[in-house]
């Protein structure tokens, strides 16, 4: 695994002092995300319980791009929701930037994007991006400037005053990504954000997300169903299996800077095969090696 390269972080520098204080702390070796012995059991009606996750241990280093892949019901979305403090673990601990998940949510340490863009139809594109800033009490001018900046970043500057309903699905997802980045979070949580898009749009947005992640230096936890997507985007692919949901394998992906050619490189296909086999459970790369930053 390559050491995190120094990245341009102009995006985050504009966002306020506290962020920089946090990132200084993170560079001391605190994982961006840390799950220790996490179980999650859902009560299902009067009779039974559904075990969504069992004994999940994992750490994500600052600046790392980690993808979670697995069959439906393997708990990958639940895992992301635990990190986001949208649900609570039944056992174990979840820490984000060294804080409890709840504190991290209250401090808005992360930005989140779902499969549905969840844009508000009654707000223009730019006002949608401003929403998290509005809730944080930023003044109007600062909000507008920041939103314009993000629209540039996701390549939609001319659509600022459009309604989400007038945009294509791919554009809506870009707006959702811009909104997730609005407060300059150190951590991006993405739950199949490209799941509903056509293949071409999807590849283009993957390339853009890879670029954005590199430019902002944000840690990304990304849930997907697509093997090529996982390999293309991430430095590590966490393979999960269902019933009960658990981490079954971890595949390190070291393809350097992603370009359009990455998808056609032999190493890319080799990794795709490796992840596919891991999903089928044919080979089990050492799960034990999946610890907190011991390779870094």
């Amino acid at each position: 695994m390559t050491a995190p390269t120094p990245r341009r972080s102009w995006l985050n520098q504009r966002v306020g002092r506290s962020q920089n204080v946090d990132s200084a702390k993170i560079d001391d070796g605190t994982p961006a995300v840390e799950l220790v012995a996490v179980d999650k059991v859902f009560a299902a009606g009067r009779t039974g319980e559904v075990t969504a996750l069992v004994g999940v241990d994992l750490a994500v280093a600052p600046g790392e791009f980690v993808t979670f892949i697995g069959p439906s019901g393997c708990g990958k979305s639940t895992l992301l929701r635990l990190v986001a403090d949208l649900t609570e673990p039944t056992a174990g601990t979840v820490r984000v930037n060294g804080k409890t998940a709840r504190q991290a949510r209250l401090d808005q340490d992360y930005g989140i994007a779902f499969q549905q863009s969840g844009l508000m139809d009654w707000r223009t594109v730019v006002r949608n991006i401003e929403l998290p800033l509005e809730l944080r009490g930023w003044d109007r001018r600062r909000r507008r400037d920041r939103a314009r900046e993000l629209l540039e970043l996701v390549g939609l500057p001319e659509f600022a005053d459009h309604r989400p309903g007038e945009l294509s699905g791919g554009m809506q997802q870009r707006v959702a990504i811009a909104r997730a980045l609005a407060t300059g979070p150190r951590l991006l949580l993405m739950d199949e954000p490209f799941g509903a898009l056509d293949e071409m749009t999807r590849e283009r947005l993957q390339a853009e997300l890879a670029r954005i992640a590199a430019e902002t230096g944000a840690t990304v936890a990304f849930v997907t169903h697509s093997i090529p997507e996982a390999v293309y985007l991430s430095q590590r692919v966490v393979v999960m299996s269902a019933r009960p949901g658990r981490v079954s394998a971890v595949v390190d992906v070291d393809l350097g800077v992603r370009t359009e050619d990455t998808r056609e490189a032999p190493e890319f296909f080799a990794k795709v095969t490796e992840v596919r086999e891991a999903l089928r459970g044919r080979r089990s790369p050492s799960v034990a090696a999946f610890g907190a930053g011991e390779e870094r």
Partner: protein, 241 residues
């Protein structure tokens, strides 16, 4: 039924045979204006109460389960039975020097009819945002109040506008019927009753009051259409472009 021409002509003639009596047009307009104001007070009151109940029921599942049956039940009480009760309760109210006016009873009854569609429609609307939209607000650690203002209320507008239309119509009907059943003077409801007593001798007269009531309904419907227009940006996407 008299000819339309007869009815229109009746508007120009004096209301009564008494010397110096105003024309029917003036009397009807006076009545319409009185009932319009009372109905508006009722509508505003009804919308406020309806919204408040909807927010309360959205906020607490217990409140929804406890209140909603009564909200539905409230509309099965016959208005005619309710009117004397309201007048009776109002008559006992004393706040400082202010005493209960007859029109207040009418407004309360109008509100009683108007609040129902708003409560039911707004509740549906407030509950309409998807789980993802709600979680997004949670991820911003938005307060309940912030979620209400920025997500739930705007999302409920497409449900609120039709509710408002029903509420406005109910308020007008409620005001007219309440005037009649409480015996309140000054409004168009009272004129309908008074003029209909003269229907045999002066058949055109009662129709002037009907026309007045119809005009009142149209004006109120127009006002709601105007509100709808002002809120058009909250309508679903296909309405723009």
């Amino acid at each position: 039924m008299p000819h339309v021409w007869e009815i229109l002509r009746r508007f120009g003639r004096p209301e009564t045979a008494a010397p110096g009596a105003d024309s029917v047009a003036v009397a009807v307009l006076d009545g319409v204006w009185f009932t319009f104001r009372v109905a508006m007070v009722g509508l505003v009151l009804g919308v406020a109460v309806g919204l408040l109940l909807a927010v309360l029921m959205q906020r607490s599942r217990l409140a929804e389960r406890g209140l909603l049956p009564y909200v539905v039940l409230s509309q099965t009480v016959p208005l005619v039975a309710l009117a004397p009760l309201v007048v009776g309760w109002g008559g006992r109210l004393r706040i400082g020097d202010a005493t209960w006016q007859p029109w207040m009873s009418v407004a309360v009854i109008a509100a009683y009819l108007a609040f129902f569609p708003v409560a039911v429609g707004a509740l549906r609307g407030l509950q309409s945002p998807s789980a993802h939209a709600v979680e997004l607000m949670r991820s911003y650690s938005a307060s309940w109040w912030q979620s209400l203002l920025r997500l739930r209320l705007p999302a409920s507008v497409p449900y609120l506008v039709p509710a408002l239309r029903l509420a406005a119509a109910s308020a007008v009907i409620g005001a007219i019927v309440a005037e009649i059943s409480t015996g309140t003077r000054g409004g168009i409801g009272r004129l309908v009753i008074e003029y209909s007593r003269e229907a045999t001798a002066d058949p055109a007269k009662v129709y002037t009051a009907f026309l007045g009531a119809a005009a009142l309904g149209l004006v109120v419907a127009g006002m709601v259409a105007l509100v709808d227009l002002l809120l058009s940006r909250y309508r679903p996407a296909e309405a723009h472009s």
